[in-house]
C-alpha cells in the first residue's frame, strides 16, 4: 500500500463533510438505528450489479433509492410501526445481498476497498457530495422545524413529506458516496458516530453541525493516512478513530 496523494483525499473529504451534515439531522431525527438499516439495503444492489457486470456503486445507488422510497412511503402511513418494518426489510436486504454476492466481493461491499477510481467516478462523486451539502445547507431551517414538529412545519408552509423525501434521498446518496471507501456496514457508522459525538458536546445547532463535520473529516483523513502505514484497510481505521472520539465525548459530557 502506498500513501494517498492530496488529490486522492479530495473525494473522501467531500464525502466526510456530507456524512457529518447528513448525520447531524439523522441523529436529531432519532434515526440512528434506521440509518444503519438504510445503508444495508445497498448490499443487494451491489450483488445484482456484480451479477450483471455493471458498476457496483450504481447498483447500490439504485437499491438505496428504492429502499428510501419504501421507508418514505411507510412513514407517510401513520400508525404503522416504522421501526419494525425498517428492521425486517433491511435485515432481509442484508440476507438477499449476501446470497447474491460472495467471498471477496461481499467483504469489499461490506467493509469497502478503496482503489484507484476513474476520473469520471471522482467527478460524479464530487458532484453528488456537493449536491447533498448544498441541499442540507439550503434546507436547514425547513429541516430544523420539521424535526421539532411536523405540525408546526406544516402551519409554517413547509411541505413536510417532500422535505422528508429529499432528506432520505440525500442520506442514500451519502451512503452510496462512501461505498467504495468504507463499505455498506461502515458508511452508516461514519454518518452516525460523528453526529452522535457532536450531540454530546454541542449546545447549539451550528455547534453540533460544525463539530460533526470536523469529526467526520478528521477521522476520514487520519484513517486514510494511518491505514497504509499499519497495513490495514482504510474503512475500519476511520471508524475506530471516530468511535474513540465518541467515547472521549462521553467523558467530556460527564465532566460538564
Amino acid at each position: 500500500m502506498t500513501m494517498p496523494s492530496a488529490s486522492d483525499l479530495l473525494l473522501p473529504l467531500a464525502m466526510a463533510v456530507a456524512a457529518g451534515l447528513v448525520g447531524s439531522y439523522a441523529v436529531m431525527r432519532r434515526m440512528t438505528l434506521a440509518s444503519d438499516a438504510i445503508s444495508h439495503v445497498a448490499l443487494p444492489g451491489v450483488g445484482i450489479a456484480i451479477l450483471l457486470n455493471v458498476n457496483p456503486v450504481l447498483g447500490a445507488l439504485a437499491a438505496l433509492i428504492l429502499g428510501t422510497l419504501l421507508i418514505w412511503a411507510v412513514e407517510r402511513q401513520a400508525r404503522i410501526p416504522t421501526e419494525a418494518i425498517i428492521g425486517v426489510v433491511f435485515s432481509a436486504a442484508l440476507a438477499v445481498g449476501s446470497m447474491l454476492a460472495s467471498g471477496e466481493e461481499l467483504l469489499d461491499a461490506l467493509f469497502g476497498a478503496p482503489r484507484a477510481m476513474s476520473g469520471m467516478e471522482v467527478v460524479l462523486g464530487l458532484a453528488a457530495a456537493l449536491l447533498v451539502i448544498g441541499f442540507l445547507v439550503r434546507a436547514r431551517s425547513r429541516l430544523v422545524i420539521a424535526l421539532v414538529s411536523p405540525d408546526l412545519a406544516r402551519t409554517t408552509g413547509i411541505n413536510v413529506s417532500r422535505i422528508d423525501l429529499l432528506f432520505l434521498l440525500s442520506f442514500a446518496l451519502t451512503v452510496a458516496l462512501g461505498l467504495r471507501f468504507l463499505g455498506v456496514l461502515l458508511m452508516g457508522s461514519l454518518i452516525i458516530i460523528p453526529a452522535a459525538t457532536a450531540k454530546q458536546v454541542a449546545g447549539s445547532l451550528r455547534g453540533m453541525q460544525a463539530t460533526s463535520v470536523a469529526i467526520a473529516v478528521v477521522a476520514t483523513v487520519a484513517g486514510t493516512l494511518i491505514a497504509p502505514s499499519i497495513h490495514r484497510e482504510t474503512g475500519p481505521v476511520v471508524i475506530i478513530i471516530a468511535a474513540l472520539g465518541f467515547f472521549a465525548s462521553l467523558m467530556v459530557r460527564r465532566e460538564r
Binding site: R140, S141, V144, I145, S149, D151, T155, Q200, G203, M208
Partner: protein, 235 residues
Amino acid sequence: MPNALDVRHLSVAFGRQQILSDVSFHVEPGQSLAIIGPNGSGKTVLFKALIGTVPHDGAVEWAPGTKIGYVPQKLDIERDLPLTGLDFLRAKADVAGVPAAQAEQALALVELPVSIASQPIGTLSGGQFQRLLLAFALMGNPSVLLVDEPTAGVDEPSEAGIYALFGRLRRERGLTILLISHELSLVYQAADAVLCLSRRRAFFGRPMEILTTERLQDVYGANVKFHLHDDAVSL
C-alpha cells in the same frame, strides 16, 4: 365580511374509533372561540384537522389569505437536543421570509428573556417552552392563532399573563383566536363563542347559551362548578 373559518359536518375517525362526528361551527374575523370538553373529546384532534394534519370528512374552509400560527400543547423534545430557542425562531424567520430580528421582537412580546431563549429547547421549563412556542407562532404575522391549552403546566401568575397577552394581541393586531381551554370561568367571561365537544355531539354558541349547569353536567358527567372572576378579562 366572510367568516375567518367555516367548518361544516367535520368528522374524524382513527380506524374504527370515531373521534369527532358531524361538528359544525364558524369563527368571525377578530373573534375568540373557546373550545372546551372533557379529556378524550377530540379537542386536539379538531385542531389537527383544522391545520390539515389528520384526514377528515366534511368541510374546513379558511378565509383566503389566512396565515395560521399554531401553538401545540406539548412537544416531545429530547433534553439534549442541541437546538436553542433562538435557533428555532431564526429557522421560522428564514422560512417565513421575515427579518431575523422578528425573533427578538416576538420574544419581547411573550416576555421571554433572550438569555433563556439561548438555551437548548429541551432544557426549558413548561412555561418557558410554551412562551417560546407562542413566539414561534407569532412570527410571520399570522391572522389566526390556534392555541392548545396555553396554561397547562404553567403557574397561576404566568397563566394570567398569557391570557392578558392574548387579549392584547386581539385588540392590537386584530387576531382571530381559537383556544382550547379548561378554564371555564375565563371562557364564560372572555370568549365570544364556545364550542363544547363531548363524546356524543358538539354544541356551538355564545358562552351564556352553552355554559349552562345542565349541559356541563351532561357533557362532563359530573358536577362542574365555575366561579366568575370579579376582574373581567377580555380574551
